[in-house]
Symmetry: C2
């Protein structure tokens, strides 16, 4: 818990309406589209001549996050970012976030404030307004329900479907770092539980921890695609592993794919750390999960334009369905892609 | 659990994507505003020249519902209805629902299907499209996150604020019945736990059980207000008790209010049942909660129009703030309204 050293106020004492006021009174609405912000029955926004897009997520303690190594502020930032990522995968511009929290009496007012600080930091950075906030009690731990709302011109909406044979498969950023960060955090938790040593040694691993604790939604990529006049033919966000997302896109579009190990971006620190942990980097890059990078396809004609965009890699191409979904390894073997992403989460 | 007699399939065996497909493959989109339905990263809708309105709710097992007496189908219907009710309180027309479920391995595929059947029945009845569905795992019980999305003309949006001194306080339907229904269900649960007798005797109590298990969002009232050319000056939905909602409206508008016990609608069956249970009906009507009726204010000039609307009662009027918030009892005593609605839920 993040509130060990600070005075503790009970939520039950403060009361629900007072707590919500305390958390939202100084929220300034930034979005011209926000008509109704926190404090009413619902949020209201106005998007003329644009599609309204909404992405809802539900995060539960001990399923989606472990508070023993996850600071509440980071958790808030990360959850908001994940909801925003789903919206970006539709090529939409995010503008509002609705927030529903369920908290057990284990959590103090200060703990909820920490969480809100993180949510608000993400909203501020990506220019979203928190449009509603509601808080209920929980019998076991923390639950976070978020809906990111945004809009897009109808002709720029991107779906998971819409790609064709021979189109290029592109990804933003790099893969496997968030999972490597998770392994480090889990290792330190185990050390702490065994030895009681609470001074984790994370020096030099900043990037991996950041990718796990504070993944950034790729608004920059959506904006760069627009600027470069590229409309992806299909797009999704990679949350449960690149292989899983790719197989899903192939399945929905009834196509196969070929991607290349040597084109799949993995940060050098991810490689090095996984080698130390005796884990094959490519397996983690394909199946690690929590990357929250964009996976999208573009027409071959867009190759010259897409290759100029920073932080975008072309990793392969769509094929006819009978060819299957394949990875060409560094030693030029062809192996079938399999989803090892988490089941049921 | 509702699936005692039916074959049980494990969710982990079926897999998340397959389960979602199974639950959504035969969903037909009805709303012309729905551009993207289930199966993508987010929902998309199109409302030109209208405000987009979104209401998000989070429901947790053993906080908001007790599955020992709550059939999953009814639960689905009720939760969807509650989300829709929040939207109606903004005077908006509901059109889409996003659904996020978290289920522990206690729940079978059939149990999740039961829940979906209820959600879909409510959506069908009120003409909403289920626009996204996502399922995650849970370590303890069932969690349901819903966002109802709709729209309204900008000049017909109703807020919790906007009322003035002397305006009329109106409510839809009647109060206390859902709480009376809850008491009956709790009594039968106790009988079952003590005697093992699982044949509850609910004959004649249908209305109370229905109000608890299947409350209906008051779309009829929103439509009647429009038809009668009445624009409420403030509106909210009564979820935690009439007194609590009324005090909240008074607080937000910095006004007082006077309501009359003899004008506050309570169904005869509620009266009779509560008398049997030796509970004062007015206390339950004011503080019982889960009524999901609309509470709204209208200008005095609208009195003639509003009194013709079926299922609407004028129960009092707004006053200057120093007069306080008062109930005039049947024997003409004036007592201060207090909120005894649940704290923290």
């Amino acid at each position: 818990m993040a509130d060990n050293d600070t005075p503790r106020n009970e939520i039950s004492q403060l009361g629900k309406f007072n707590l919500i006021s305390k958390l939202t009174d100084d929220i300034k609405l930034e979005q011209p589209t926000t008509v109704v912000g926190p404090g009413d029955d619902a949020a209201a926004a106005r998007f003329d001549n644009r599609l309204t897009v909404a992405a809802s997520k539900l995060f539960l303690e001990n399923v989606h996050f472990d508070l023993s190594y996850f600071p509440l502020k980071h958790l808030g930032y990360k959850c908001a970012g994940i909801a925003v990522s789903d919206l970006l995968a539709m090529n939409a511009t995010p503008s509002q976030l609705t927030v529903n929290l369920a908290v057990s009496n284990r959590f103090s007012v200060e703990a909820v404030e920490e969480l809100l600080t993180g949510l608000r930091a993400c909203c501020h950075y990506y220019h979203l307004d928190i449009a509603t906030l509601d808080i209920t009690s929980s019998v076991s731990g923390l639950a976070i329900g978020l809906t990111a709302i945004g809009s897009v011109e109808p002709d720029r909406l991107t779906r998971r479907t819409g790609t064709h044979e021979n189109e290029l498969i592109c990804v933003s950023g790099d893969f496997g770092a968030a999972y490597a960060g998770l392994l480090l955090l889990q290792r330190e938790k185990q050390v702490f539980e065994t030895t009681g040593n609470s001074q984790p040694d994370f020096e030099g691993y900043d990037y991996l921890l950041e990718r796990q604790l504070k993944p950034e939604p790729r608004l920059d990529i959506v904006e760069a695609l627009r600027k470069n006049d590229i409309l992806p033919t299909a797009m999704t966000v990679v949350s449960d592993g690149l292989a899983s997302s790719l197989l899903h896109i192939c399945h929905l579009n009834q196509l196969g794919c070929t991607i290349y190990e040597n084109k799949t971006p993995v940060d050098p620190l991810t490689f090095q750390t996984l080698r130390e942990l005796k884990i094959v980097a490519t397996t983690v890059a394909l199946n690690g999960g929590e990357d929250y990078e964009l996976l999208f396809t573009v027409k071959q004609d867009d190759y010259e334009k897409v290759k100029t965009i920073e932080n975008v890699s072309v990793i392969g191409y769509m094929t006819e369905p009978n060819a299957g979904c394949n990875l060409i390894t560094n030693d030029e073997c062809q192996i079938s892609l399999r989803a090892q992403g988490f089941q049921g989460e």
